[in-house]
Symmetry: C2
Subunit: 196 residues, 2 copies
DNA sequence: CCTACCGATCGGTAGG
DNA sequence: CCTACCGATCGGTAGG
């Protein structure tokens, strides 16, 4: 009757989340079915529900994992005593590396969040808005310090975050350029776009 | 028995496509239902099928309308006798304005194309690849002519195209900045990011 | 353009 | 973790 929370039980859930992220990325949240996911995991569809509450719970976990990771990094960077440009570069690199190393999760969190249900949906939207605002504040600080040219900071944030999500196309095309080279190219273009 | 192709019949189809683009944008292709679309158009679901063949046909039309428009503009710009930077700026502005003026269609074509079925899916992928290649060639030309700094051209294309799709967040947040200001900011940041 | 309806598939539950 | 199954919803068709 009572389910026992063993170690293998916990890691089973992690496997499900991981496979779910890959599946949601490939097909989109709505088009991905729990039966497909079960197949990939290697169980019957009904068995998934011993580990998770619902399909939407999977999306919640994926989205908030990612959001919390970025929020935590931003806390860290804001506290540093360096130039504004250096802070922005650091955050950009974190985003690029996140996209390269946790591709499925980040991709899903970026493109499928609209399928969250409340209160998670509005929570995430609020969190994202706050994140972008603080990112923009970093740019505005740079403008005041004359490190960065006079541009509209929210626009710059929007450009940078979406440019990074473009790594998706790169991933898909499996280009000859390496991840590190890609990162350097992106940083060069974007940071020089800001610099005074 | 035989359906008559009247003028109002044709424009009815256009209305359906327009409303479909808005609905697909809002909910995503898979999550949007034909019953919802019918409601918006003001008919019963079955009646939609007098104007269109299937839900997927709607997506086909939306995606190829957009793709063909951009391809045509690229033809035009390639033929011009100006600097590479001027060509790229012109193309960027066309993309930005396209995003501002035909938001629903462009958004859907950008984010929902993976739900196309073959042969449309692979046709569009091929077309998009060709487009990005020719866009990259414009940048490489600029590098050879010493107008543009030495960067990886495909990476720059990827950044720019995705940065523009970021106008989505701007649209959603209904910011105080005007469309024209947004365009100027984006062009400033991105063109200066390329310039030598 | 509508009524009536179909077969398929979905997320999820009961019960063991 | 499985078998068996449910109610809901989907895209689409028949026939008028």
């Amino acid at each position: 009757m009572g389910r026992i929370k063993t170690e293998s039980n916990a890691s089973r859930k992690e496997v499900i989340i991981e496979k779910a992220a890959a599946l949601f990325k490939e097909k989109g949240f709505k088009a991905a079915s729990m039966r497909e996911l079960a197949d990939i995991v290697g169980v019957e569809a009904a068995s998934l529900y011993n580990h998770i509450k619902s399909k939407n719970e999977l999306l919640n976990i994926i989205c908030f994992d990612v959001a919390n990771r970025y929020m935590h990094k931003l806390d860290e960077i804001e506290a540093e005593k360096t130039t504004s440009i250096a802070k922005i570069e650091k955050l950009l690199r974190y985003h690029i590396e996140g996209m390269l190393n946790h591709f499925d999760e980040v991709y899903v969190s970026d493109r499928e969040w609209k399928h969250l249900d409340n209160p998670y949906l509005s929570n995430l939207q609020t969190q994202r808005r706050a994140y972008r605002k603080r990112f923009a504040a970093l740019i505005e600080e740079g403008i005041r310090r004359k490190e960065i040219k006079k541009i509209d900071a929210p626009t710059a944030v929007l450009i940078m975050l979406h440019a990074i999500s473009g790594i998706e196309s790169w991933h898909r095309s499996k280009q000859k350029i390496s991840g590190k080279e890609l990162e350097e190219n992106m940083v060069t273009i974007m940071i020089d776009g800001l610099r005074k």
